[in-house]
């Protein structure tokens, strides 16, 4: 029991640390950790991850709010579509088999790994023209799909949201990260409520994971400001591909 609790704490700590260090929400690290390392069923891991994302959103977006890097006006428009997508995802999770969820997650991990490696260093990143009037309907649709996917596989959706806000809407990267960090809290709360009131949220595992992500996020965020971009990129790429391989290995072996 004690060892289990410490493992859950370590899971949250790792997710928070890596998430904060690499500038991600944590869900993308937490679900593979719970399933691959602890051996939990992905359908049990997803609600825990979503609940931790709500807490992490509140904790991590404060710094962005302080620096004026959250576009609150945009948040309200997009949060509605994200929440609707999350609800669709959490309902779909009752019908989609665990193997499919693992495979979808693998695709998201591989996409994230390559997108992160291909991204430009901070100095080269430029803010585009504000395209919200032009591309907002497209963005709403994409955010709805992101919300569905996020709730289905237990991530906040930051890995898709940040590029979307940066490349399509044209927000500066730091504002895109801040806006995404603030936004995911609302939509993940809807999914958490659905899981919680359906008794699908494990109340023995969730508290140490939340505690871990609160601790790890703070340290990871600080370390992230000191890290060399190349080191971060290489570490991220290796971790993501390893987790993707471990997640896909079993379902693919069964299929082949």
């Amino acid at each position: 029991m004690t060892v289990d609790l410490l493992l859950y704490l370590l899971c949250g700590l790792t997710a928070g640390l890596l998430g904060g260090y690499l500038g991600l929400g944590g869900g993308i690290v937490m679900v593979p950790f719970l399933t691959v390392i602890i051996g939990m069923n992905i359908k049990a891991a997803v609600p825990i991850s979503v609940a931790a994302i709500v807490v992490n959103s509140i904790a991590s977006s404060t710094e962005y709010l302080k620096k004026g890097m959250v576009d609150l006006e945009l948040v309200m428009i997009l949060a509605i579509f994200m929440a609707m997508g999350n609800i669709t995802g959490s309902i779909l999770s009752n019908y989609v088999p665990a193997t499919s969820v693992r495979l979808i997650f693998t695709v998201v991990l591989v996409y994230t790994a390559f997108a992160f490696v291909k991204s430009k260093p901070l100095g080269e990143q430029t803010a585009f023209t504000d395209n919200r009037r032009r591309y907002l309907p497209l963005c709403m649709l994409l955010i709805y799909i992101t919300g569905t996917l996020a709730a289905l596989i237990g991530i906040g959706g930051g890995v898709v949201l940040v590029p979307l806000l940066f490349l399509i809407i044209g927000l500066p990267l730091t504002t895109a990260r801040g806006t995404s960090s603030f936004l995911v809290g609302f939509s993940a709360a809807a999914a958490t409520a659905v899981y919680f009131f359906n008794d699908r949220l494990d109340l023995a595992v969730t508290p140490p994971v939340i505690l871990g992500i609160l601790l790890g996020g703070k340290v990871g965020g600080y370390l992230g400001t000191l890290a060399r971009p190349l080191v971060v990129k290489v570490l991220f790429f290796v971790v993501m591909l390893y987790l993707a391989f471990r997640l896909a290995h079993e379902p693919l072996m069964r299929l082949l």
Binding site: A59, M76, M84, F186, L203, A204, P207
Partner: protein
């Protein structure tokens, strides 16, 4: 980049308070779980309720900030989001 037309100061204060509350609450729950105390599950249940209530408070405060800044369309959108979130909970319970 468009300038934010509203002051987020009250939101920052709320989020900071929530962060400390969550940390202390879940630290107590984890410590109780480690000692095998059965109250831990009960406290974890209320912890999740606090997280959800905290999110609603955050949303209501954001709506109020929009109203104060005369951004009535966004103020309305905040309440639409709140209705969506609450109706989900009510329908699923």
């Amino acid at each position: 980049m468009r300038e934010n037309r509203l002051s987020a100061r009250p939101l920052i204060v709320l989020q900071r308070a929530l962060r400390y509350l969550f940390f202390i609450w879940f630290l107590i729950v984890t410590a109780l779980s480690l000692t095998g105390n059965t109250v831990a599950t009960e406290l974890a249940f209320w912890g999740i309720i606090i997280v959800l209530v905290g999110t609603i408070t955050r949303l209501l405060l954001t709506a109020e900030l929009f109203r104060r800044s005369a951004l009535y369309r966004h103020w309305l959108l905040s309440y639409i989001l709140l209705v969506i979130l609450l109706s989900t909970v009510i329908l699923k319970y």
